[in-house]
């Protein structure tokens, strides 16, 4: 299964607490999704 399909429906909060559905990030333009590893 494609990574984008797996990620698309997931909803996360942004830094202000607003919900963002990941799929919306690459709806209109290319998204460079960077996962940081050093966790908090």
């Amino acid at each position: 299964m494609k990574v984008a399909t797996k990620l698309s429906g997931i909803e996360l909060s942004d830094w202000q607490g607003e919900p963002v559905r990941l799929g919306s990030l690459w709806q209109e333009q290319t998204a460079v999704l960077v996962f940081i590893r050093h966790f908090g």
Partner: protein
Amino acid sequence: MRDRVDEIRSLGGELVVVGNGATNFAAAFREDYRLDSPLLVDPELRAYRAAGLRRGRVEALSPRLPLNALRALRGGSRQGSVQGDLWQLGGVFVIRPGGELAYRYVSREAGDHAPVEGILEALSEDAPAIAEQSLANPLCAGIGRALGRVVDPTIALSFDRTGFRIHSLAFRPDDLDVDLSGRRCLVTGANSGIGYESALALADLGAEVVLLCRSRERGEAAAARIREQTGNARVSVEELDISRLASVRSAAARLRKRPVDVLIHNAGMLPDERIETDDGLELTFATHVVGPFLLTHLLRTALEKSSDARVIWVSSGGMYTRRLNPRDPNWKKREYDGVIAYAETKRAQVVLSELWAEELRGSSVVVNSMHPGWVDTPSVKTSLPTFYRFTQALLRTPAEGADTAVWLAASPRTRQWTRCFFFDRAIRRTHFLSFSRESDEERSQLWRACEKACAG
């Protein structure tokens, strides 16, 4: 990375950073690095897992680490450098409208970095998409199967590490490419060994996992390690001593309140003297056979409430050596031999799993058994010290031993089978020698012996 944001924007892309901390951490981070790109938080690692960035899998240290760290700290020209340590990348994905993947980078070790040039190239319009199907290499699979046929009759080269390596060539990579969110998995004997690795793997795939352990203390320690390693908070402990019927009844009363999707009967032991439980049962018979029988019976309704329930018995290759013996399961008529008692109960587990599969045929519940090969676990070390000394280098890791149980529990593909016996993700025969075949009457006797033991 931050320096490149303008370059990325000029090429029509937008940088989005995903971190693991809480929202307040994210706000502070954004300010510290003067980032004006979107920053999202994923404390439960849902997106990380979906992207294949499993925390438990990432190697922490390697010899290359100091060199990479030095390189990053040194900085260098705008052309070549990336802000290293500060950004410790877990992974980078460039996704086009429509969902096409133009670039993928998964961090392998602490301190390594995505080559930024690759990212920028992926943003150009005519960059090719990355093929995402992970096809099992048919050549490898063929070699694995052929070699398997050669080594399997030797037992030794099949049950040990070598065997796992050979058989795993034929494993299909997509089988465990699943998200188990919403599925509830119970594992007995889960604080160490194969049970622990099964619970860890299922938690890593997103399932809700309940560790059923005799010792709450050891169970809680194991659960904490699993939660930490997988980022999955839905890992809990229920106290359950599978060899004591009262404990099984009490735990089952709590567990049955919600549907059960997976039940792994893993708890096991090998005593060197005959021990009688408070219920009047010989200890291995109680642990491997009667306790799991009762637990399955009491959780039956909860299992049937699942649309896709799987019960898995973890048996042993030792079961091949014994014929089912339903006549003296408590060793009242014979001089006790712990190794034989073990092997007899391991044979009984395989038969019992078949009987339960038959009992539940037509329902949503499939029942199978498996054996893990020769595995390096604390039980082997304590119970078979000589065997352990000679074979230690060749024994499988607990994770390798757990693999087939996890596969049976998690893979959509394994739903099609019930009443089967597995080893290294393949259906195997349950008898090598004709003398070991039991009669139908003996099978019924086993079921009746279990019912009687539970009633008493």
